[in-house]
């Protein structure tokens, strides 16, 4: 019985390591070359409405690319790139973007204390840090939203609120329900300044 348990534990470790090795960030870097045109040479987007991918959790990028490929998330600019992407390419590119150091875009605007204060009143009741974690760096399927492009964050939250975007589950649709445009603008600014 104890031996069986030990073997089971050894198998678990092996299975998990196998999964980790399967994602090849170096291969992903080559595949991701076209992505950098819009998402930024270092994965930090300098282009309006295009999100930064540097430092995003690999699971998040993988799941979003699957949703885009399957037509379950609508982002017309991404449709031709996501169509027919093999799972392995997606996982490798996700592994690559996860290795890039995150940071704000070069054109980040100055802090607006009024917007920061408005957002600080919202992030507690909305439990943003519960899933996105205390530094808003994300984890697993939950994205890094710290230092993301402000107008992108606002657009994403608006889509979740209006039911035009869903994740692999509907946590974000529930999280933003009832937010006003002003609430969203404040939250986007607050997170972009992180």
């Amino acid at each position: 019985m104890i031996l069986g348990r030990f073997l089971a534990a050894a198998f678990l470790a092996a299975a998990t390591c196998g999964a980790a090795v399967a994602q090849d960030a170096r291969r992903g870097a080559e595949l991701a070359t076209p992505c950098l045109q819009c998402h930024g040479g270092n994965g930090r987007s300098q282009m309006e409405t295009i999100p930064s991918l540097a430092g995003q959790p690999a699971d998040f990028i993988t799941i979003q690319l699957i949703l885009l490929r399957e037509g379950l998330r609508q982002a017309p600019a991404m449709a031709p790139f996501a169509a027919n992407l093999p799972d392995r390419d997606i996982e490798d590119m996700a592994a690559y973007f996860a290795t890039l150091p995150p940071g704000p875009p070069d054109d980040r605007r100055p802090r607006d204390p009024a917007l920061i204060a408005a957002a600080e009143a919202l992030v507690g009741p909305r439990h943003c840090a519960t899933c996105h974690v205390a530094d808003y760096g994300g984890r697993n399927q939950i994205p890094r939203i710290a230092a993301q492009r402000e107008e992108y964050l606002a657009a994403a939250m608006t889509q979740y609120r209006d039911g035009t975007r869903a994740g692999p589950d509907t946590q974000m649709n529930g999280a933003v329900v009832g937010l006003s445009d002003a609430n969203i603008a404040a939250l986007a600014h607050f997170l972009a300044q992180k």
Partner: protein, 402 residues
């Protein structure tokens, strides 16, 4: 621990109170203690290579054997079987319906039968027609097994069923499980529009049935927070269902439950009660004895999903007409629970005498990790039992040899 949790819950309510005026706390987060970092686990929507499917980790009672029946099926959940043996499998996040056929050499072939659907988790076969329930959308694919590669456009029955939309549910418990009753009616769930809240009890937290054309909606049971598995007893023909307990009120209560519906329309108590457990925030002074009691309690947050009565002959006699239940596994709990298949043992009167482990080995308690998430069970005609593993996109087959 319990007192601390209650205190945290109360503190969260106080914090949530004033915030309501500004912006409502979302339904799923009601009661969530400040500082908790519990969140649903990430699904895996990519193909898991066969050598990473954790079949070798499965533990079963003596004489039982597990093998991989089919794999490379991301997000596989509910299974419905066609007259010619094609298995149709639903999913949630990846939006696909799969068709799994068996090759002459015993291997399987999986096709993507339909895609781009919103959470097509409810499947039922009636004759040669496959019904797909994708939230409120209901699609009927006719003569389906003859057209696996190029299915004809489905008949859209959405308006006839008139189920609440995702928006009506506020983004909560809107996905479906569907089962065919012995009376030829379609049985499904309409989950609660929140973690816990006040809502229209004639519209949500129900088990309902319909004629296959969507007419004659009937409430089979009320006060059922969310059922993602149901089946009729093969002898008594009573409806049984699994039911998920609410979140954010503690690790161990209220428990998930197995319900036996003895009378059409009976009330299982949500949000006031679950069994003898009275909700401290939503009880409204009601005695829990007023409500129908669950047939069995299945554990806190275990996420009891698919359930089937064992009607085959391959397994030993003691399993005949007993209930196999897939427990997908917890997220709203400090330590993982579930991630297994259990058997509810019934006596001759249909009373549950115990709930026993059947398929374990997917939960790694020491490291608080899981290897797969059982979401559905299905009895094949040869008496073997299929278990769909949603996380790894695999279907396991359990056989018995003396």
């Amino acid at each position: 621990m319990t007192i601390r949790r209650l205190f945290l819950g109360a503190a969260a309510m106080l914090i949530a109170g004033p915030a309501l005026a500004q912006a409502p706390v979302p339904g799923w987060a009601i009661g969530r203690p400040e500082g908790s970092t519990l969140a649903p686990h990430a699904p895996r929507l990519t193909v898991t290579p066969l050598d990473q499917v954790p079949v070798a980790a499965l533990r079963l009672p003596p004489g039982f054997h597990a093998e991989v029946y089919a794999h490379g099926i991301p997000g596989v959940r509910a299974i419905a079987e066609g007259p010619n043996g094609t298995l149709f499998a639903g999913s949630r996040g990846i939006g696909r319906v799969y068709a799994i056929t068996r090759n002459a050499d015993g291997t399987t072939r999986t096709r993507v039968f339909a895609q781009g659907l919103a959470q097509p988790s409810g499947l039922v076969m009636i004759g040669n027609s496959l019904y797909v329930f994708a939230v409120n959308r209901v699609l009927r694919y006719d003569n389906v097994e003859a057209n696996l590669d190029s299915p004809a456009a489905p008949v859209d029955l959405t308006a006839a069923f008139a189920l609440p939309t995702e928006q009506d549910h506020g983004g909560n418990h809107h996905w479906k499980f569907v089962s065919l009753g012995p009376d030829g009616r379609i049985y499904t769930n309409v989950g609660a529009p929140c973690n816990v809240c006040e809502f229209d009890r004639d519209r949500f937290a129900l088990l309902v049935s319909f004629n296959p054309d969507g007419s004659d909606r009937r409430i089979e049971a009320r006060g059922v927070r969310n059922s993602v598995g149901m089946a009729h007893h093969p002898v008594t023909r009573e409806l049984w269902a699994t039911n998920h307990g609410r979140d954010w009120i503690g690790d161990d209560s209220p428990e998930d439950s197995l319900l036996r519906v003895r009378r059409t329309g009976e009330d299982f108590g949500f949000p006031m009660c679950l069994g003898t457990w009275s909700d401290p925030e939503h009880n409204r002074g009601r005695a829990c004895s007023e409500f129908s009691q669950p047939a069995a309690l299945l554990g806190g947050h275990v996420a009891a999903l698919g359930m089937r009565f064992y009607t085959g002959t391959m397994f030993p006699e003691q399993y005949r007409n007993q209930v196999f239940i897939a427990r997908r596994g917890s997220w709203n709990r400090n330590r993982l629970s579930g991630y297994d298949v259990v058997v509810a043992k019934l006596d001759a009167q249909g009373n549950v005498t115990g709930v026993e482990d059947f398929m374990t080995g997917l939960r790694d308690d020491a490291n608080q990790r899981f290897l797969d998430r059982p979401a559905e069970v299905h009895v094949l005609r040869d008496g073997s039992l299929l278990v769909s593993g949603e996380q790894m996109g695999a279907v396991y087959r359990i056989t018995y040899r003396q």
